[in-house]
Symmetry: C2
Subunit: 159 residues, 2 copies
DNA sequence: GGTGAAACTTCTAATAA
DNA sequence: TTATTAGAAGTTTCACC
């Protein structure tokens, strides 16, 4: 968990790659007035350090017919069942993230579904898990985008 | 918002790109026993259709010193202030997602911070927004990974 | 629709500074 | 650490199935 020191150049490279992982290193080099070889070395270093864990596509789930997002808070009968329930939750389709939390809920998860009908099926599966006392659903009416670039800037500016 | 029909080949291409956006099209072609040209055309089609919105890096925020995740439920004094408050929330650093929700909270957001101390600063900024009545914080003790590949499979299998 | 090959661009690693 | 360079590799287009 060693902290890694990123300099301005690393930061700018990350910035461009966060926006588009397939941007050619030659383009990055041109913009930053360095050589493509340097970009290559810097990226490799960040990969080796584990800062860059990988890359993934940004998909439009709405276009795929999955525009429904809800958060579901889960209350357990016994906290000792957390691990078991978390494992069961991970088996349920359309649950995209699950967190063990302090505070109101024991476990907290996000689901992505086609519509209310479909979401209901997913939530029923959560309710059916042994050890789950009850669930509380919050339907997302509007999502304001998760901006990695913004977070990266916040992080970089606070150093 | 036209739905797009993906076939098995499209699905498999997405699958490989979700794992690693920089995997060469020639590798995808080899694995799927099609030509690299076909992979190129398929990807372009999915990009044009907007299914693929872009690509981004997966970063290790822990390694950057930001291992603290919390969800914050926001209660408003008046629902009519939702839009205003959402705009203010989007200006606050380290808030990574915000949702307008039905159910318990009016607005619901996720924050990523260095530690409890740092998170406190962020939450205080949320509390200070005009129109915010109070907030309720849930600290994430454990996050189980968001697997896009899994969701893609769930989607593809349910068609 | 898909293929295969040509032309073009980019990557990568070795060498040099 | 960074720049240059050249061979290897990948991308993209297009005539032809």
């Amino acid at each position: 968990m060693a902290k890694f020191k990123l300099d301005e150049v690393d930061h700018q490279i990350l910035d461009m790659l966060i926006d588009n992982t397939r941007v050619p290193f030659t383009d990055i080099a041109k913009k930053l007035l360095i050589s493509a070889g340097t970009v290559h070395v810097r990226v490799k270093k960040m990969e080796d350090a584990g800062i860059i864990k990988g890359s993934s596509l940004t998909l439009d789930y709405k276009k795929l017919g999955y525009s429904f997002i809800a958060y579901v808070g889960v209350f357990l009968k016994n906290t000792s069942q957390t691990k078991f329930v978390l494992e069961r939750i991970n088996e349920i389709p359309f649950v995209t993230v699950a967190h063990v939390t302090t505070g109101k809920f024991n476990v907290f998860c996000k689901i992505r579904a086609k519509n209310t009908e479909h979401a209901k099926d997913v939530i029923f599966m959560l309710d059916d898990i042994e050890g789950v006392y009850r669930t509380e659903t919050m339907i997302s009416l509007e999502e304001s985008l998760n901006d990695k670039k913004r977070l990266m800037h916040d992080i970089f500016n606070s150093l």
